[in-house]
């Protein structure tokens, strides 16, 4: 799988390159600035882009803007955005086009190489990978009021959180150490309580969850 990597800190870029190569990714380009990233995304047509939010020359959210622009030019281009901090605002912008194939993670997540690589693969396959922090912010916000979310059991909330991060039922089952069938039951309960149509598409269901969490603002 061919990856375009954008990160301005040399040490981190180097580390990411080595980590991705160790997991059999092919590095099509590893760049350090926004304009270089835009060029690389247009010319090299990678399978997935791993992008730092803050890039030179502006040192603002240039990486995010480049990624969004590239996705407008080529809808569905898988993009995993890394950031020193995560904000719902940016997560919503990434999810806004509803096409999937997006991820938004804290940079610290690369500490756990397997989880991080799993997220890259999920995004490349058209799925979603939202940082647990974003999901927790969303859930914390919703638990306070008496909307349908309040009717979920603690276990169901746990499942919803993992689901919103973009994990499959099998992965959730593995994480919570229960059977996949139990998770399937939980998810159908959740969808029912939230009034969402059941769909077996991982990506769509995350988008549906996030859209639900977002509504009624």
């Amino acid at each position: 799988m061919r990856v375009v990597l954008a990160e301005d800190l040399f040490l981190l870029r180097d580390g990411l390159v080595r980590m991705l190569e160790a997991f059999d990714f092919e590095i099509a380009a590893a760049v350090g600035t926004g304009p270089e990233l835009t060029r690389a995304l247009a010319d090299l047509e990678p399978d997935v882009a791993v992008v730092d939010v803050r890039l030179p020359p502006s040192h603002t959210d240039e990486g995010l803007q480049c990624a969004l622009a590239a996705r407008r030019a080529r809808p569905g281009l898988p993009v995993l955005v890394l950031s020193q901090h995560v904000e719902q605002l940016y997560a919503r912008e990434l999810l806004a086009d509803g096409v999937g194939g997006v991820g938004y993670l804290l940079k610290d997540r690369v500490f756990d190489a397997e989880q991080f690589i799993d997220a890259v693969r999920r995004v490349a396959a058209g799925g979603t990978a939202m940082d647990p922090q974003v999901i927790q912010q969303l859930l914390a916000r919703r638990q306070g009021d008496d909307r349908p979310l309040g009717r979920l059991t603690p276990r169901e909330l746990e499942v919803l959180e993992l689901m919103a991060q973009g994990r499959s039922n099998a992965a959730i089952a593995g994480h919570l150490v229960v059977t996949e069938r139990a998770i399937a039951k939980h998810t159908s309960n959740i969808f029912q309580k939230l009034g969402l149509d059941v769909s077996d598409d991982d990506n769509r269901r995350v988008l549906a969850v996030l859209a639900y969490l977002d509504q009624g603002r």
């Binding site: 603002t60 959210d61 904000e87 605002l89 500490f111 306070g144 603002r217």
Partner: protein, 430 residues
């Protein structure tokens, strides 16, 4: 006693000398000052009239600089000769301004306009107030000269050949009367000349200096807000130092110790070593979280990346109460203003979440270009009301911080609600 007599003589001598010096200075002022102000006034008027033709654009800054130099010289003399302080209050003109900008910036400066107004005053009332002490000191000497025999050169004793003041000099007798009048004038002059010269400078000050009361009030406000700003930033630095010391720094030390132990254990007890590595990784993650929170407290990343509007939107997304944010800002504001406004909004929102019992909050941010630019922020909630800016409340802290930027805060919060907090900060947008 001798000493008494001496000091009495010294006092009289000192007074005479002071009066003579004052008279000489007044004479100099009466001769030179009007000449200078007439020339500069004519030049200024001509130059400003030529502004529409374009020539004035180039000449006006030069002429106004000369006027300012002239006024500054008079400020110097006012302090040295009259003990009258006239503080200059010119606005700085940017070094890289083009002639056009420089010209209009100068003409827009109230201090420069006061200079121009002062020139005609100086050549009329200024001349009179300078002339009076000079005359009181020097005119008597003509009377003495007439009495001493000068009258003979002017008249033959039969007709009135000369008027000294209101005395017609026609012979020795009237010449003596002129001398007596001169003596009387001199006495008056010796006692009043320094005072009269001071009056001249007070007149100068009344035109040249800006409103003193307004200025004093401004100084008081600035002194107060500066003290608040210094206090706040010192407290902020202490908080950051403490957070770093107790948080991230301590965790990094613990991590280093764990890794040291791992180094020793890695061969002997790999299982234990793996546990410690896992702990070190957790410590590093926690240290990062703490640093992240600290950075958010100093300068929130979204604020740095996107500016005030999106920073407040991101803030609203993290609140447990549904919050609508309406933003109408043209571009970015100055970084210090953005930070001050952000933390003010953050504090007001925190207050609303903690105390109001509201179900919805509305934040409205907009910038108007009037009066050099004004950022207006309104935070409204549908809660129970009763918020106040009394001492010790979070809102008074916000008020003090905004004060540093000449910003103001107003709270309308009747018991039973709703609460509306409005803030205004003068600032330009880029």
């Amino acid at each position: 006693m001798d000493t008494d007599g001496d000091s009495g003589e010294n006092r009289a001598g000192g007074r005479a000398r002071t009066a003579a010096v004052a008279g000489a200075r007044a004479l100099l002022l009466a001769v030179v000052a009007p000449a200078g102000s007439i020339v500069l006034f004519v030049f200024s008027v001509v130059s400003i009239v030529l502004v529409p033709l374009g020539i004035g654009i180039v000449t006006t800054p030069w002429v106004l600089a000369a006027v300012r130099g002239f006024a500054d010289l008079r400020r110097l003399l006012a302090v040295r000769w009259g003990g009258v302080r006239i503080p200059p209050a010119y606005r700085p003109v940017p070094k890289d301004a083009n002639p056009w900008g420089r010209c209009f910036r100068l003409l827009g400066d109230p201090a420069v306009r006061r200079d121009l107004l002062w020139l005609p005053v100086d050549m009329t009332a200024g001349l009179l107030t300078a002339l009076l002490p000079a005359l009181l000191i020097f005119y008597p000497f003509e009377g003495f000269a007439l009495a001493a025999g000068l009258w003979r050169a002017l008249t033959d004793g039969t007709y009135v050949g000369w008027w000294y003041g209101f005395v017609p000099v026609g012979g020795q007798l009237s010449a003596l009367a002129a001398g007596a009048l001169g003596a009387a004038l001199l006495v008056v002059g010796v006692y009043t000349a320094p005072f009269l010269l001071r009056v001249h400078f007070l007149l100068t000050r009344s035109v040249l200096a800006s409103g003193q009361g307004e200025l004093a009030e401004r100084v008081r406000v600035l002194t107060e807000t500066r003290r608040d700003a210094v206090d706040t930033s010192a407290a902020e630095l202490r908080r950051i130092e403490r957070d770093l010391h107790d948080g991230a720094q301590a965790r990094l030390v613990a991590m280093g110790m764990d890794l040291g132990t791992v180094e020793a254990l890695i061969e002997k007890d790999p299982a234990k070593a793996r546990q410690l590595v896992a702990r070190a990784r957790r410590s590093s993650a926690e240290a990062l979280t703490e640093l992240r929170d600290l950075v958010r407290g100093i300068h929130p990343p979204v604020l740095a990346e996107r500016g005030l509007g999106d920073a407040v939107r991101a803030l609203a997304l993290r609140l447990p109460i549904a919050t609508e944010v309406d933003v109408d800002l043209p571009g970015r504001l100055g970084e210090p203003v953005e930070a001050a406004a952000y933390f003010a909004v953050s504090e007001v929102l925190t207050n609303a979440v903690k105390h109001s019992g509201a179900e919805r909050i509305w934040v409205d941010l907009h910038h108007t270009p009037e009066r050099g630019g004004m950022l207006r922020i309104a935070v409204t909630d549908d809660g129970g009301g009763g918020a106040a800016t009394g001492s010790g409340s979070g809102l008074s802290g916000v008020e003090r911080r905004l004060g540093t930027f000449d910003g103001v805060l107003a709270v309308s919060s009747p018991a039973g609600g709703p609460t509306m907090v409005t803030m205004e900060i003068p600032c330009e947008s880029s």
